[in-house]
Subunit: 368 residues, 2 copies
């Protein structure tokens, strides 16, 4: 950990007052905005997330809104995933690529109407890319960052808490679908989604003015459910194989390297600007790919730079996220591994700041 100097440039959110009152211990910066990382401790937050329910300020998942007659065409230019059958009410996880097939972001797209989408983004200025493409191709689309700040409710008791605030209808929302539900007379998009595998929802809070009223209503309603303020949890997300843009993948990587080949419909995603490059990748296959890795020994320190993965004197990959898992009683990690060594049970060494430790590519997809 280090100290962070605050300034207007690191934007506060509609929920920051609540986050501070709840005793936030640390932040990261994400899309020029404050994102909490710890409340009690990473381990306590982890155990609580897996057993109860948490409210997360994920306002930093900024929205890029596309609206206008050319919206459908522009959306398909941004991703190799085939959007032709996407309907209003659906959310799609999308690899977003540049003309070389390099990952620019891995957002969730929310289709609001036939010609209107929100793109709920990971940590890079997608607005700039979309505006540039729209302008260059002279498309008739408005591209803006609206006043929408997602608030996540995550954990096994999410349905109960949400039903108390939004009504029983919330229980019927299917995974990666949304409904419009009322809060204080405002119709909000409520999706069954979120950056954990413990179940839950994301509320797209439209209008910062109702941020704190909604925050307070959730805590008020959830007292007997042991609701706590929380945040994306490093341990849980590694166990669950949830990738982090900027950590586990960058512009250097194709979706196929990131294990996102199943979202690349390169034959039907007509118009994707990275399509030619990805057709080549799809044909040849990637030469490295993201893998779950278990690292032996004592709890590892925070992974602040890639840790080389070695076999003898030869580097065969790198670890990009790692944490001690209390439940699995080992260090869980995510890394990019060359095809020569990506098979399950392959023994490797990982070069930590303090010295080499034994590790292995894990069998199966991820722990959760």
């Amino acid at each position: 950990m280090a100290l962070l100097s605050l300034s207007r440039r690191l934007r506060r959110t509609p929920f920051t007052d609540g986050v501070e009152a709840a005793g936030v211990k640390a932040y990261t910066v994400y899309n020029h905005m404050l994102l909490p990382t710890v409340f009690r401790s990473v381990e306590e937050d982890y155990a609580h997330l897996k057993s109860a329910v948490q409210v997360w300020d994920v306002s930093c998942e900024r929205q890029v809104e596309l609206r206008g007659p050319d919206t459908g065409r522009l959306m398909q230019m941004l991703t190799p995933r085939d959007l032709s059958r996407m309907q209003p009410g659906q959310c799609f996880y999308l690899p977003m690529v540049d003309e070389t097939g390099g990952m620019l972001n891995d957002p969730v797209a929310v289709k609001l109407e036939e010609d209107r989408y929100w793109i709920s983004i990971a940590d890079s200025d997608v607005l700039y890319w979309v505006k540039g493409v729209a302008n260059g191709y002279r498309l008739d689309v408005m591209v803006e960052e609206p006043d929408v700040s997602p608030l996540a409710v995550q954990g096994p008791r999410s349905d109960d808490l949400m039903a108390r605030v939004f009504g029983e209808d919330v229980r019927d929302i299917r995974f990666f679908r949304y409904k419009r539900l009322e809060f204080q007379g405002r119709s909000l998009v409520v999706a069954r989604s979120g950056y954990s595998k413990q179940g839950g929802f994301e509320i797209y809070v439209e209008g910062g003015d109702i941020g704190m009223p909604l925050w307070n209503a959730l805590f008020e309603a959830g007292r007997d459910l042991d609701v706590h303020a929380g945040c994306p949890n490093l341990i849980e997300r590694i166990e669950s194989g949830l990738l982090s843009y900027g950590n586990d993948m960058t512009r250097d990587n194709t979706p196929h390297e990131c294990g996102l080949g199943r979202f690349c419909d390169t034959r039907s995603a007509i118009g994707c600007v990275g399509r030619d490059a990805l057709l080549r990748v799809a044909k040849d296959g990637p030469v490295q790919q993201i893998r779950p890795i278990s690292v032996e020994g004592a709890p590892v320190p925070g992974c602040t730079g890639p840790w080389p993965i070695m076999v003898g004197q030869r580097q065969v990959g790198q670890v990009t996220s790692a944490a001690w898992s209390p439940d699995f009683e080992t260090n869980v990690a995510i890394g990019m591994v060359k095809m020569t060594h990506w098979d399950p049970f392959t023994d490797v060494d990982v070069v930590l700041p303090g010295g080499d430790v034994r590790a292995a590519v894990v069998y199966g997809v991820f722990w959760n």
Copy 2:
């Protein structure tokens, strides 16, 4: 201040090892990278910067490289400043705008060759905008982030320190010009520029491998000059009227509002994508503009959100950066003020978290 959780996504730089060894006390995050903010204290760093010489890790001023036959055309599309007479060897400060004339960044462009530039950026993903425009207009340009990390040498003794490492030629570099000078057999762009008004240079360190050798060479050579590790200083940059993108200006603002109208050659900057919008602004004039503001009373806390500027019950602007100035014995601030109240000596109130304080629009441009 808050605690910052470190991860690979908040990139370390080629100089971070040196920064840590020099006792960095806090960071901010800038272009997904660590930027030091304090070494001894903001006040001590300030006094030292104005009297001696400092070495700054400003790697976070990432470069966007443009290369290829359509480079000149693309460069002019990005800015309303007329680039037609820019020569290799020159650096230009550029407002960069979108199609509505909104500020996307305020970088320094470095012309390397007729068809090759670096754009040294403030805190937003300019790479995404430039790639989008280049792709949309089907321009024949390579757009990349090269392995180039600026290291600044700032303060009144900069010339002496730099001459010891790069030779006497460095003294002849004119303001916003650069020369190619040798370090360990590598030819580096060395410009007379930097984010202070205390004089100095920026070394565009090409190749992270020579980062620490250069860092060490500068400290070795400057022992008797009282060289210290430093960083952009909040107090000094406000006194000097150096604006900060994301703090003092955002996409909501035109260059004219930011006092950058002199860089808008809207009649000759043929091809700038924001030209039509800015012709309108140039004709009508802005209705608000950035002003230096002095705030009375005790030292203000850090400005983490805009502070409203009031006259009676009416909001006439907002303060976006502020700090106590030991030299001027008042709080110096930067704010956006409506035209009805932007004249020098206008008395206003500023709404701080702790209550209202008296303030005034300052006569003259800025303190320094």
